[in-house]
Symmetry: C2
DNA sequence: CGACAGGTTGAGTGAGCTCAAGTCGGGTGG
DNA sequence: CCACCCGACTTGAGCTCACTCAACCTGTCG
């Protein structure tokens, strides 16, 4: 794995904020590094993951334009890596939050956004079947990317699998099955269209357990967005 | 399910802090309630959980004396319930953090503690087998309760199961199996002694996959506490 | 063109779920 | 006091869904 510190794109930037670029696959920070800075995605996609002793990964989140990541106490419990080429801004934790009085609401909302991200992750892992997890992941990603039904997944099947606690085989099979049932459309491995959001929502909520044909009990499926759907709030400019 | 607002034990308390008592099983706040206050456990045990549409629970954490909970953005995504009889202090979010400048470090550490709790939960759910999850849960609980090898689990098997994403049957079977292998001792359903912490640690880290006798490769098992072990930092005193 | 990474799909296995008894202890009422 | 109930827990038997192992496809890059 490559390890670069990133190139400073704006050399005139003050101590308070630095713009960085990373290539696909590069490590932004590693598990165990001192967590003195935090980051905001300008463009591209970032993943955070931690490694267990036995080597397997748990991806704790994907971060898109506007998202903040790297909010941790002392040391990073997760590493962060570029899923695609990314541009980031980096700020010092001491300066960026928790000191100047006028920035407190801002600081809170940054931390809240990190909390929301973590809760979304728990909400995915708390689902019990592969169908539920994949369906919930697709809906959450579609929502996050911009609410469109057509979405471009920047990450690989392995990333999805390690995010959902499944294998790439199961992820692939589940997606194929969803396509076969015409709930989604696979235009290519990375390009997915959601054809039947209502049914996908039912699957995510575990209501597609029995028959796959009848649309039983649509009530309750259309009300407020479920837990998993609560957007991992992007911290605004 | 009973629903009480709790009795104010200290009527002289200012707006800023109220002491409350709840009986076993009582709901402290419900999923969806406006999250205007946050809480700290004085004594007893609290669980937070959210419910999926299909009715199944995901417990997101257990909170013991000193722990802070109820830190959420606008509405509670989880409910909180008393596992045992509990005494709590409740503070307003607006007053308790994010406003007076001198309280900022405090505010940060409260939010950080919530983040740590969430990450510990993810770390448990990210493990793949029942053995790993139960072993990690026991170690984390023993660590949190006070580092002793003998621990009293205040929660039921159902609570543990819903925390780890397993069934009560699997939890029960796994504990029995650990007892059979003399890694732990079951003095009663709630009272557990950890006889072989090293081996339990290996199991938690997925290294007990093959043989159950050989203590292969103890190196790496004794160094820094693993992710799951990082204490869900108690805020306060 | 071959090498390789990413993805799909099939066959077989096994860990954990479901269904079903059965135990144990505490509370309650006759 | 005993009978009864009920909730929490344990344990067995069988099944199923997701994992493992393996083959194969596709597109990209050197």
């Amino acid at each position: 794995m490559l390890r670069l510190s990133g190139q400073t794109a704006n050399p005139a930037a003050r101590h308070t904020q630095t713009t960085l670029k990373f290539r696909k696959g590069e490590i932004i920070y590693a598990q165990g590094d001192p967590a003195s800075d935090w980051y905001q995605v300008v463009s591209g996609t970032v993943r955070t993951c931690f490694l267990y002793r036995d080597g397997h990964r748990q991806l704790t989140g994907f971060y898109y334009g506007g998202d903040v990541f790297g909010i941790e106490a002392e040391k990073f419990r997760s590493s962060a890596e570029a899923v695609t080429p990314v541009t980031l801004t980096r700020r010092s934790k001491a300066i960026g939050f928790a000191i100047p009085a006028e920035q407190i609401p801002e600081a809170s909302s940054i931390l809240q956004s990190a909390l929301n991200h973590a809760q979304s992750c728990i909400s995915l892992l708390g689902r019990r079947t592969a169908n539920e997890r994949v369906a919930a992941f697709l809906l959450a990603t579609a929502w996050r990317i911009g609410g469109r039904d057509s979405l471009n997944l920047p990450m690989t099947r392995a990333d999805i699998a390690d995010h959902l606690g499944l294998t790439i085989h199961t992820v692939s099979r589940t997606l194929s099955e969803l396509a076969r049932r015409e709930i989604i459309n696979l235009n290519g491995p990375q390009s997915i269209t959601i054809c039947n959001p209502q049914l996908l929502r039912l699957l995510a909520d575990g209501e597609g357990r029995d028959s796959s044909h009848e649309q039983k009990d649509q009530i309750g499926a259309l009300d407020c967005p479920t837990l998993a759907m609560a957007p991992a709030t992007a911290f605004g400019r």
